[in-house]
């Protein structure tokens, strides 16, 4: 291991120079949806077991379990979730830890797991993500989700998560001329993709007219601009790339990854039409992977609201600032477009079980890289990106994956 002089501290160690290359060697997902008969643990266990089976690994070989979960204690009254789930899978005697970073909880768990394997702490780490949301009525879910914002300021004033993104949308429309039709185009595209995904929550094609006429939630956003309240779980197994060929699952390389943060409250950000954390995470991940935004062939982006996908295409450098609206409206991110975005259906149609979303995105990118995406398989699928956003931009995780 190289020793760095103190003067160079403060710069990310994330580079091929310091880390072992890491691969995703197994994936597993439950369907996303409303499952009144399933509890949180059974969902997480199903995803974990599918993942271990995909890689052909027995639970006793797992050296650590990293779990992403946003609000299990609030949604279902269960704490101490990581060992609770790991134990049910037959994984005991190893570190089992829960990560919470709002909607980026499992993206963060994945980032830290990759860090640990990359640093040589472990060879085999299972990363899970789970949320069980539909057992609570919508106003209660809205209240729990609002806790990902600043409860002292925004929350006390009555802000909801849709309201924060509605204010972001209003400002983006004001500064860049982004239109309601462009936001609706995100919903129409993602529903079209989700309709082809057997694990998606809402497999329903919608028209632009429907998307524009939805019930108002927080102006200018209507129900079709908002992602779904879902139950679901996802899991991935990671290992050093040099061992990837020893496992049953077709591996994918983690080429670049970064997690960054920003202020939680919107009113503390100087410009709310961009997410500084996403921009920074993207730049770090591109640098680590040695690729440019234009090299990315497809992406799973965090479309918690339609405006969020538009802004993500800008923050990640697919287009210039302010051009995200026309980009989606012209079909550039459609399944048959030059750079498909959210071929899974995204959070909008696939569903958004908050804590499962980050790892779910990794699974969806790996499915495309493997050529296993079925009806929604795209032609150019060698280099993909996943972007997971926490809250209104206080956490961002960007991962670049390549076919092994």
């Amino acid at each position: 291991m190289r020793i760095r002089p103190y003067e160079s501290f403060g710069h990310a160690r994330y580079s091929k120079q310091y880390m072992r290359p890491v691969a995703v060697i197994g994936i597993g997902k439950t369907a996303f949806g409303a499952f009144p008969d399933r509890d949180l643990r059974s969902l997480a266990v199903e995803a974990g077991q599918k993942c271990l089976a995909d890689a052909g690994v027995s639970p006793s070989k797992v050296e650590a379990f990293y779990l992403g979960n946003f609000a299990g204690p609030s949604f279902v009254g269960q704490n101490h979730l990581a060992p609770y789930i790991a134990g049910a899978m037959g994984i005991t005697g190893v570190p089992a830890t829960r990560f919470e970073a709002a909607c980026a909880s499992s993206g963060s768990a994945f980032f830290h797991a990759v860090s640990a394997v990359g640093a040589g702490l472990y060879d085999l780490v299972l990363v899970g993500g789970v949320e069980k949301m539909t057992s609570q009525p919508t106003p209660k879910v809205t209240e729990i989700l609002a806790g990902a914002g600043d409860m002292g300021g925004e929350g006390r004033a009555g802000a909801t998560f849709p309201a924060l993104f509605a204010m972001i949308a209003r400002r983006h429309m004001y500064q860049y001329g982004t239109t309601r039709e462009q936001m609706a185009a995100v919903a129409v595209k993602n529903h079209a993709n989700g309709a082809k995904n057997p694990l998606a929550h809402m497999r329903k094609v919608i028209t632009i007219e429907q998307a524009l006429a939805g019930k108002p939630i927080a102006e200018p956003l209507n129900v079709y601009d908002c992602s779904l309240i879902s139950d679901g779980a996802a899991a991935v197994l990671i290992a050093p790339l040099e061992h990837a060929a020893e496992f049953a699952g077709k591996a994918a390389k983690v080429l670049g990854i970064a997690q960054t943060s920003d202020h939680v409250a919107l009113d503390e950000k100087d410009d709310i039409t961009m997410f500084r954390a996403v921009k920074a995470a993207g730049e770090k991940a591109y640098k680590m992977a040695g690729v440019s935004p234009q090299d990315i062939q497809f992406a799973e982006l965090h479309d918690c609201f339609t405006i969020a996908e538009i802004i993500a295409t800008e923050d990640l450098g697919f287009v210039k600032k302010g051009e995200g609206g026309p980009y989606v409206q012209q079909g550039c991110t459609a399944l048959n477009g030059p750079r498909p975005v959210n071929t899974s259906g995204g959070l909008k149609s696939k569903g958004h079980p908050v804590g499962a979303t980050g790892v779910g995105q990794i699974c969806d990118v790996v499915m495309q890289l493997r050529g296993d995406a079925g009806e929604r398989q795209i032609a150019r699928h060698a280099l993909g990106l996943a972007q997971n956003l926490g809250g209104s931009g206080a956490t961002a995780v960007v991962t670049i994956l390549g076919a092994a």
Partner: protein, 72 residues
């Protein structure tokens, strides 16, 4: 609590789907106001609807939440 003074609407929304404790208030307008000091504040709007760029005056605190109104 101190009077934050007047400001300008930086962004706004009208909330229809409210969290549990605000259901009775819906629909209500929420805004981020840029105060004349340059600081931003998340606030509720009382009275007429406002849009980006509107000048607003501080009205009152209700349960610790600042309310602003459109400048006449």
């Amino acid at each position: 609590m101190e009077n934050p003074g007047p400001g300008t609407v930086y962004t706004e929304t009208v909330i229809f789907a409210a969290p549990e404790q605000f259901v009775a208030d819906a629909p209500y307008q929420l805004a981020i106001v840029t105060l004349d000091s340059g600081k931003r504040l998340t606030a509720r709007i009382a009275g007429d609807r406002v849009t980006i760029g509107d000048a607003v005056d501080f009205a009152e605190y209700r349960d610790g939440v600042p309310f602003f109104s459109k400048k006449n």
